[in-house]
Symmetry: C2
């Protein structure tokens, strides 16, 4: 079965694209690829474990494949890099069907293909109890032109590419109504939330949009040096930036990008929209810092790609804490985000 599964993935991956940079793909001791001249390599890897990061009660295999790709693509985007080659490690538990793997592989490859990434290797092993998925992504970036977490400076403004907290709300809804994809059925469920709102929030969790093109554009102009993707909630992700840059940050509650969809579900979920926006993980929006001098130019670049103006949510300050500023006062939220590692 190992050989069957590898052959299946190999077939689907091979059909996908003819990538002249892939000299040896799946099926040898190593993959061999030809990097472009004058580039640095960027590498990222993420592991998703069943019942920790996803649950097959609500995650269909096609979306799981797409998300496995997206979480890594998002990291490549946060470096401003061009993702090129992917490697998939599967630990397969008993009871998984051919149909599952067919759908998973197609989902994975569909997301990778959008960014010209070829699946060229990996490893498939058995696991006694739980499915586990690791994807590793290698990409390229012009020499010295990557974004990092480490160059934010006091008075830089903090920007965000989209609404926050929606993926966390989507996950809560999925967990609440575990019948697979049932929230999509009918005009309104027993929960009283419209189909459109449900779909929006649930999609943000199942199928987040990695901000690869945006990250590349920000890096290209050289006016942004610091970025991170929002995977653990900005309270934690901004704390990472602060630590690496040796600065503090203040976040403005009134500027937080909270969608109407999020507000509508907050009553049902019993969680304040602002809390979800600050601490909810997996939105995979891009967060970056920019000097006042470059602000309007960078805003234009981002708006052109996003189709709307990015959100200015705070600024970098002296210190080492992440502080939330509200009309009632200030609150330390450093590392208060969601962490997968329990």
């Amino acid at each position: 079965m190992e050989r069957d599964l590898i052959a299946k993935i190999q077939r689907l991956a091979g059909a996908q694209i003819k990538d002249p940079s892939v000299l040896v793909g799946i099926g040898d001791d190593c993959a061999v690829v030809a990097p472009s001249p004058d580039r640095h390599l960027i590498i990222t890897t993420d592991t998703l474990v069943e019942s920790i990061h996803f649950d097959l009660d609500y995650f269909d295999p096609w979306h799981l494949g797409r998300k496995t790709a997206a979480v890594n693509l998002s990291d490549a985007g946060a470096m401003g890099g061009n993702p090129r080659w992917a490697f998939l490690n599967l630990a397969v538990r008993p009871g998984m069907t051919d149909r599952f793997w067919d759908s998973f592989s197609k989902g994975l490859i569909s997301r990778l293909s959008e960014y010209g990434v070829s699946l060229v290797g990996g490893d498939t092993v058995s696991a006694p109890d739980r499915l586990s998925l690791s994807l590793t992504l290698i990409g390229e970036v012009k020499k010295g032109k990557w974004l990092s977490r480490g160059h934010a400076q006091p008075d830089d403004l903090i920007y965000c590419s989209g609404n926050l907290g929606e993926a966390a709300a989507g996950l809560e809804l999925l967990r609440k109504y575990k019948e697979k994809r049932s929230p999509f059925k009918g005009q309104k469920g027993a929960h009283g939330i419209s189909r459109a709102v449900l779909k929006r929030l649930v999609s943000k969790h199942l199928d987040p949009e990695p901000r690869v093109t945006l990250g590349q554009a920000l890096a290209a102009k050289g006016m942004v040096q610091t970025a991170i993707d929002v995977s653990d909630g900005i309270a934690t992700d901004l704390a990472h930036v602060c630590k690496n840059s040796k600065v503090g940050a203040e976040v403005w509650a009134r500027e937080m990008p909270v969608s109407r969809a999020l507000k509508k579900t907050s009553g049902i979920l019993g969680i304040l929209p602002l809390d979800l926006a600050l601490t909810g993980g997996e939105d995979f929006e891009l967060l970056w810092t920019v000097s006042e001098k470059n602000e309007s130019e960078v805003q234009k670049i981002a708006a052109k790609i996003l189709g709307y103006r990015p959100f200015r949510i705070g600024k970098i300050v002296q210190g080492d804490r992440v502080i939330l500023k509200t009309s009632q006062g200030a609150k330390d939220i450093t590392y208060q985000g969601y962490e997968h590692y329990i």
Copy 2:
């Protein structure tokens, strides 16, 4: 604790070597490395799952770290490549101590360091029940100069770098005497095998020697194009070569490198040494094919690195099967090796 564990690994990895090719290490969205000019990249990745690939009853963390590195280094060696950067994905189950991770990380880094490999990234997540470890290794090879599974030709001779079946015997012994490392205690155990024999076989399983230098030397001279490392037993590994090269192979029972140590344990284990040598996994010896014309020159190159003459164990033939030739006749052993994926 995720942050604590990452910080620990980061500290140990950072202390290891100052590698000027590492521009961004552990602690950003991606690692950034500078590849050498005029090289192709080789990439390999392997996953080890607790209770499938190892058992903490007999695997101490330091050796587990070394083996996690070795299985990937072995793949890099089988391509004739120069491994350079490593990425570690950990799925950590409850109940694992700081001391375990300290020892594991030191073991891992000790093996990587022997080949100048820097640990520059990864991912750490929690798992409900079982420890799972994936290592990904990126290396370099001179443009077009890698070894593959796909260039064996009829009449090529098949060579092997060392004794086969010892790792499988070592694993059987470890499973039989699960008291941690107890086989090393005393001059002779209840099992009647000498300490030296036990240590040799058990070490072959716990701490296999990846044939990186040998693979590089074989690739450098251009007289060898086809190689594979013995991870699933030569019955299966040779079948991979046959499939990729569109050839068959015959293996000579009388030439099989079976050590005296292996013979001594065979009675206790109740498995014939030849069967262990053909189907036992994880010896991580290098297997290669060479034309008659280049045979003696390549033999010399290998002997210089190994300190003994490599073993000529068979030859490539027309067809698509792996055939064992014995004094009693011939037997099809295609894909009869050990497979981790159950």
